[in-house]
């Protein structure tokens, strides 16, 4: 039996639509004979028989679109019959193109961080090159007239990415080296974080937060069985209030201006199996701590299940990265551009603290570190902002309304 697969008929072709079958099941065909027409994104092409035999087991009806490499029919020699389960969807090895690059579908279905909506100022060539290289054009910084993204910008972005993906294995690779290809999400994270770190002038401010009162409150919630509220929920709420108090931090750098956002949308970084996603809790300025808690739980759950909608990952005005559960003393986070700030939350610990009257007490404290875009905020503002958050966390009844 010879499989007829959706052939790759051009460099950029990833899928094809069956326009018509020119032969019916049971017809004998010669090798190279045209048996159908296929519409690619560029043109209508002829489908040639990859061998001779009787056409059988047509899997793709007219009008259907399938990825390159997928079997669409079979050619049977005399005496041959279709294998059991033909067309049952069992992954038949793509005959012509062993490269798995053709199975683009699962990647596309996975939630992709901030799929660009709206107009991107880019040259047609830049868009084409980005598309073929699988680069998100909106994430490329433009250097053309008026910030237009031109080909060299995309080439530079690809270059940056490919320094991460060695083009070929080293000639005599030691046995224990393993090359792990980047999945789509990793590629995006790599590009985003690199760009932020390269293009946004970061500075960092760390403070220690006394969590005694929050712990007391949480204990009360627990005892009164009024539902769990996590430290993270308090942090999100504290940040939301601080951002309302200091709109300078709820902003983005716009080249010749700073845009202060009207609403407070907080991105909450969540680790997922293959990387990191940042779902966004929108309109935090109007949400109670309970509502925030619920919303974060929903979104993070969706993120872990791969069910986040693109819209639920867009539009953050500020972000929080929480490593509380990972037992860290302190860390700094990379700003989730185009935000102007991010706060890194470390693990709460019991430590001796010098309290009033020079007494030493054992208390629960945690370090939080703000990373700020120096184009938007200066040191003093950063310090003020992080202290407002601390004040709220240390006087948590303000967070309960």
């Amino acid at each position: 039996m010879t499989e007829v697969i959706m052939p790759k008929m051009g460099d950029g072709m990833e899928e094809g639509t069956l326009l018509e079958w020119l032969k019916n099941e049971g017809d004998s065909v010669k090798s190279g004979e045209v048996i159908g027409n296929i519409q690619t994104d560029k043109a209508v092409m002829e489908l040639e028989a990859p061998g001779k035999g009787k056409l059988a087991g047509i899997l793709v009806p007219v009008g259907e679109t399938v990825p390159v490499g997928v079997p669409i029919a079979a050619l049977l020699k005399d005496g041959e019959s279709l294998p059991d389960g033909w067309g049952s969807g069992a992954p038949a090895a793509p005959a012509a193109e062993p490269e798995p690059a053709v199975v683009a579908a699962p990647v596309a279905a996975a939630p992709v961080a901030a799929k660009s909506t709206g107009r991107v100022k880019a040259s047609p060539l830049a868009k084409k090159v980005a598309e073929k290289a699988g680069i998100e054009i909106a994430a490329v910084a433009g250097t053309g007239p008026g910030g237009r993204i031109v080909e060299r910008d995309v080439r530079a972005a690809i270059e940056q990415q490919s320094t991460r993906i060695p083009a070929a294995p080293p000639v005599a690779a030691a046995a224990e080296d393993i090359k792990v290809p980047l999945n789509h999400l990793r590629g995006i994270i790599a590009q985003r974080t690199l760009e932020s770190k390269q293009q946004v002038p970061h500075f960092y401010v760390t403070v220690e937060v006394d969590l005694e009162r929050i712990e007391t409150l949480r204990q009360a919630f627990k005892e009164e069985e009024s539902g769990k509220v996590s430290v993270n929920d308090f942090v999100v709420k504290a940040c939301a209030k601080a951002l309302v108090d200091m709109p300078e931090a709820n902003a983005t750098y716009g080249g010749d201006h700073v845009l202060q956002f009207g609403s407070v949308n907080i991105g909450v970084a969540a680790a997922v199996d293959d990387g990191l996603l940042v779902p966004v809790v929108k309109g935090c300025e109007n949400l109670t701590i309970r509502q925030i808690s619920q919303s974060v739980r929903d979104l993070v759950g969706k993120a872990r299940d791969g069910r986040l909608l693109p819209d639920e990952m867009q539009g953050s005005t500020f972000s929080i990265s929480n490593m509380g559960m990972l037992n860290v003393d302190n860390f700094t986070a990379i700003i989730n551009a185009p935000n102007a700030a991010i706060v890194a939350i470390s693990t709460a610990k019991r430590v001796p603290v010098v309290v009033s009257d020079d007494e030493i007490e054992i208390r629960t404290v945690m370090n939080i570190t703000g990373s700020f875009d120096h184009r938007v905020l200066d040191g003093a503002s950063g310090a003020k902002f992080i202290n407002i958050i601390r004040d709220y966390l240390e006087s948590p009844t303000h967070l309960l309304s």
């Binding site: 460099d11 950029g12 560029k42 043109a43 040259s123 047609p124 060539l125 830049a126 084409k128 090159v129 073929k132 031109v150 080909e151």
Partner: protein, 471 residues
């Protein structure tokens, strides 16, 4: 005069399309500017090049249109003839009017126009000589825009000047008469344009070009087509040919022309040298102050057009690079901006249009098919003949075609090459496409007005895409 006092921020030497444009831009940006010009405002382009040649071409075309008016259903009774003096006078009027225009622009922009020949004293000082009188001028920066002049290409046996029947392009734009028989050496833009003019005005013209096609600097399909059209008009086009030697006769020259190993002798009244120019650098003490020269002109260190002396820049023909008026002007704007704003931006020569104003016209921008291939591109081309267009049929301009050269994988537009009526006015579409990094798909998305000759561009891109509508 104290050592560091300057007469101007910028002195521009030469008022051709490079120099006068640089001067105006520098003045617009707020610099005090002096322009030194030894001859006429407008330089080669306006006085001996682009403009007078186009004026002569226009008269020739008008005459030819009348001669062939019957094709359009226009009957002319009586004799149609040319008034050669009137043609030359008209050309002269166009030139002097435009020259005056440059003078007006200088006044408007408060540019100091100094007449005379400039020579360097040191890197901030020149001495300008006019009628034996010398004046010193000092400036912070200089723009060298001295352009180029004709030279007599050595041909064995060929000697003398206009009186002896040896013309350069300077003579051809001020022709004393229409020769009966002439040989034009060089099938570049200048050679083919004068072939059209003198053939059209009644001369018996032989055009000798060494390369296998005329206008060899362009995509070879264009040269083939233009050669064919000129032949049809009666020009004796000889390609792959050389002028080996000349012998003086009573009224002109016996020219020995070899084509493909066979030599023939052609008798003419005038030999027009359509090739050969030299950068104007002599007698200016440039090497003395550290400005380096190479074989063809002033050497620049990079595409920001600085010379080896930091405050001295060079633009246009004098650099011995691209000899086109619009390139000289673009370089002038760049350099003026760099000087006044303290930038060091480089020129981008990716999309330089190149035009030939024969009938039919030729226009080209970007890479030719063979250039693209030799640069390693995987190339797709598209082509569309004008005869397939309604506008071409209606106006009787069916000769010629549009050819597009694109890169295969992304569809990047690499070149646009055209021969036909009005193509020089259509080339900006190709310039925009290349500069803005258009792809085939983005080009075919653009609606082209109907009926226009430019529809052929759309069709050629469609063709490159595999689907021209009218092909």
């Amino acid at each position: 005069m104290p050592k560091d006092s300057f007469d101007s921020d910028v002195i521009v030497i030469g008022a051709g399309p490079g120099g006068y444009v640089a001067a105006i831009r520098a003045a617009q940006l707020g610099a005090t500017v002096t322009v030194v010009e030894k001859e006429y405002l407008g330089g080669t382009c306006l006085n001996w090049g682009c403009i007078p040649s186009k004026a002569l071409i226009a008269s020739t075309e008008a005459y030819q249109n009348v001669l062939h008016a019957d094709k359009m259903g226009v009957k002319i009774d009586g004799k149609v003839s040319i008034d050669f003096d009137a043609i030359v006078k008209r050309k002269e009027k166009v030139v002097t009017t435009l020259r005056g225009g440059v003078g007006m622009l200088f006044k408007k922009n408060k540019i100091n126009h100094v007449e005379g020949f400039a020579k360097f004293v040191d890197k901030n000082t020149i001495s300008v000589e006019k009628d034996g009188k010398k004046t010193k001028l000092r400036a912070k920066n200089f723009i060298l825009a001295m352009g180029s002049s004709v030279i007599y290409l050595p041909v064995p046996g060929l000697e003398g000047g206009q009186k002896e029947g040896v013309w350069t392009s300077d003579d051809a734009v001020n022709p004393p008469f229409v020769p009966k028989k002439m040989l034009i050496l060089g099938g570049g833009a200048v050679g083919v344009e004068f072939s059209y003019v003198f053939n059209g005005l009644g001369a018996d013209v032989t055009l000798v070009e060494m390369m296998p096609t005329v206008i060899p600097m362009m995509d070879e399909d264009l040269g083939k087509e233009l050669g064919k059209q000129l032949k049809k008009q009666g020009v004796g086009v000889k390609v792959g040919a050389s002028l080996d030697k000349c012998e003086k006769t009573k009224n002109g020259w016996k020219c020995h022309v070899t084509t493909g190993g066979k030599t023939e002798v052609i008798e003419v009244d005038v030999v027009l040298l359509g090739v050969g120019r030299k950068a104007n650098t002599d007698g200016m003490a440039l090497d003395k102050i550290g400005v380096k020269l190479h074989r063809r002109g002033v050497e620049i260190v990079d595409d920001s057009l600085k010379t080896h002396v930091g405050n001295i820049y060079a633009i246009g023909d004098v650099t011995g690079r691209i000899q086109l008026a619009h390139v000289a002007s673009a370089e002038g704007v760049r350099v003026a901006t760099n000087i006044v704003k303290g930038e060091a931006k480089q020129m981008d020569y990716k999309a330089v249009p190149n035009c030939v104003y024969t009938v039919p016209e030729v226009a080209s921008v970007g890479l030719s098919e063979s250039e693209a291939k030799s640069q390693g591109y995987e190339v797709v081309t598209g082509r569309f003949d004008f005869r397939g267009l309604g506008k071409a049929m209606a106006t009787g301009h069916i000769d010629g075609f549009v050819k597009v050269v694109c890169e295969k994988k992304y569809g990047e537009v690499l070149g646009l090459h055209m021969v036909g009526a009005h193509v020089t006015d259509m080339i900006p579409e190709g310039v925009a496409a290349i500069n803005l990094e258009a792809t085939i798909e983005s080009m075919i998305d653009m609606i082209h007005a109907h009926p226009t000759m430019a529809e052929a561009i759309l069709e050629a891109f469609e063709d490159a895409h595999g689907m021209a509508i009218h092909k």
